[in-house]
């Protein structure tokens, strides 16, 4: 190669390689997203088989794992989220003599954003990662291949019950988070900010609208579908043994967190602007 061109090529080499790598990442992301959506559509179509005895048992088991087993951590997180919210907003409002309004602030923030958001993060980190690890282990030990060879569709057998469990339990857990968060705020209000509990509750219910609750629950429902889709897809596509299972688990948590944030913003924008 002629010397000046060689020099130019040397300078352009790094940006070209970076651009190529970025292109590859985008292509893989598009491919994965397409396949994950196909898996979601297929599992959704199989919901019609949920009344079969085995599917019913498996779905009940997943509802139990998602709902009951997550209650402990959700209780602590929800309570403290409400308490922190009340304390932070209450201290600011006190400067203007408006601390009585912490009820409204805590309630609206909890049911619109923090309830679904905190619940989704906890479920993604606990249930989502567990699903990815379980399905990932099944994939690397050929159990998924065994199901396929037996003509048992993994989307029906494994994905559908988890999808239903997360889509159903997320709104229920969000209501639970909202109630505990609001209660936590009330306790901080009455013990540390001098706002009577009854006054806090009256204020809490005065300005919150039904729409806030519905949008929050809709968000929770969508977050449930996101967590189920990401965790099942990552799990079912695990390769490379134990290292792969670890990678699938980590990817599930990261992708779920990012999707929850992005989709959460989009839903808020859709309903409130």
């Amino acid at each position: 190669m002629i010397a000046p061109f060689k020099e130019i090529y040397r300078y352009l080499d790094l940006p070209i390689r970076s651009f190529r790598r970025l292109g590859n990442i985008l292509l893989i992301a598009c491919h994965d997203m397409g396949n994950a959506l196909i898996m979601l559509a297929s599992a959704t179509l199989y919901i019609r088989t949920i009344w079969k005895p085995r599917a019913r048992r498996e779905t009940a088991q997943q509802l139990y794992v998602t709902g009951i087993k997550s209650l402990g951590v959700i209780t602590v997180v929800a309570f403290f989220t409400g308490m922190i919210l009340a304390l932070q907003t209450g201290l600011e409002l006190r400067r203007f003599g408006q601390e009585v309004n912490i009820g409204t602030a805590v309630t609206i923030v909890m049911i619109r954003e923090m309830g679904p958001f905190m619940t989704a993060l906890i479920i993604a980190a606990s249930v989502g990662s567990a699903i990815a690890a379980q399905l990932g282990t099944m994939a690397v030990s050929e159990e998924i291949s065994a199901l396929e060879v037996m003509s048992i569709n993994p989307n029906r057998f494994l994905v559908m019950p988890r999808l239903v469990a997360l889509a159903v339990m997320m709104p229920i857990l969000t209501v639970y988070t909202n109630i505990l968060g609001i209660l936590g705020g009330g306790i901080v209000g009455s013990t540390q900010l001098g706002v009577a509990f009854q006054a806090y509750l009256d204020n809490a219910t005065r300005y919150a609208e039904n729409k806030d609750l519905y949008v929050g629950l809709f968000k929770a429902f969508v977050f449930g579908i996101i967590i189920a889709t990401v965790s099942c897809y990552q799990g079912l596509n695990t390769t490379e043994g134990a290292v792969g299972v670890g990678r699938a688990t980590r990817q599930t948590v990261i992708i779920s967190f990012l999707m929850i944030l992005i989709v959460g913003y989009m839903i808020t924008r859709l309903f409130y602007i």
């Binding site: 085995r54 030990s141 050929e142 159990e143 291949s145 065994a146 396929e148 060879v149 037996m150 048992i152």
Partner: protein, 256 residues
């Protein structure tokens, strides 16, 4: 009959199967041997479309499995039973539930009939006593026997065995060999066995094919296989202490 016609497969830029062609006649125990990474398991996975070839054709009787999709693929796959290397039992189901799984998911059988069928298959493999045990409480050999019971529960025409004796002690390995041989003799099932255990291959095979570097280097009866003049086959035989003379001395009487 299973027919591979000029099947090619590349994985990660490496040619794993290089235009291989062979036939597995009905009712035979066809053994595929070779070193690790030779392409044995990949060949087996193509038979049930767990992998698709880059080119070539795979026929199962009149069905072209590499082109089958959806319900058609499910129908062709139901002609097979597969024993995976790790047995691939579902860990949260008991032995009974594992074997009953295809019957519950794919047939309209009542529970009574399912129980009768599962008991019968488990009895055949001497595993009836462990019906209520979870796979994690079983030894490797027992797990393989349960895997085999699940593979035959739908009465398949063809059974694929992926390294059925790997990780097992010699006594259990011979027991698995005997089970494979019994199934062929008693049920007339066509078997395809992938293994690197040549003792096992010579004991159960009616035909042995060796793959090396994605190509077939030998495809012969066991008697002819151990007499092969192919250098790769000779090295492979020697690596397992089998010589033309030694094979006869090591109890391969069935080929005398």
């Amino acid at each position: 009959m299973i027919t591979f016609d000029k099947v090619t497969k590349q994985l990660g830029g490496k040619t794993v199967l290089n235009g291989i062609s062979f036939e597995v006649p009905k009712g035979e125990t066809f053994v595929i041997v070779g070193l690790s990474g030779a392409g044995k398991s990949v060949t087996l996975k193509h038979m049930v479309q767990l992998m698709r070839p880059d080119s070539g054709m795979i026929r199962i009787g009149d069905d072209i499995i590499n082109e089958a999709r959806g319900a058609e693929l499910e129908r062709v796959r139901r002609r097979f039973g597969v024993l995976f290397q790790s047995a691939a039992l579902l860990k949260w189901l008991t032995v009974f539930e594992n074997v009953a799984l295809p019957l519950r998911e794919l047939t309209k059988m009542g529970e009574e009939e399912i129980e009768k069928t599962v008991r019968e298959k488990l009895r055949l493999l001497n595993m009836e006593e462990s019906m209520d045990v979870f796979p994690s409480d079983l030894s490797g050999g027992m797990q393989k026997r349960v895997g085999l019971a699940r593979a035959i529960v739908m009465n398949p025409e063809i059974i694929l065995y992926d390294e059925p004796t790997s990780g097992l002690d010699p006594v259990t390995s011979r027991l698995i060999d005997k089970l494979i041989e019994d199934l062929r003799r008693e049920l007339g099932i066509t078997s395809v066995v992938v293994t690197h255990d040549l003792h096992s291959a010579l004991a159960i095979g009616t035909r042995i094919m060796m793959i090396d570097g994605g190509e077939i280097v030998e495809n012969a009866s066991p008697e002819d296989f151990i007499k092969s003049n192919n250098e790769t086959v000779k090295r492979f035989l020697e690596s397992q202490y089998i010589t033309r003379r030694g094979a006869w001395e090591k109890g391969m009487e069935k080929h005398v």
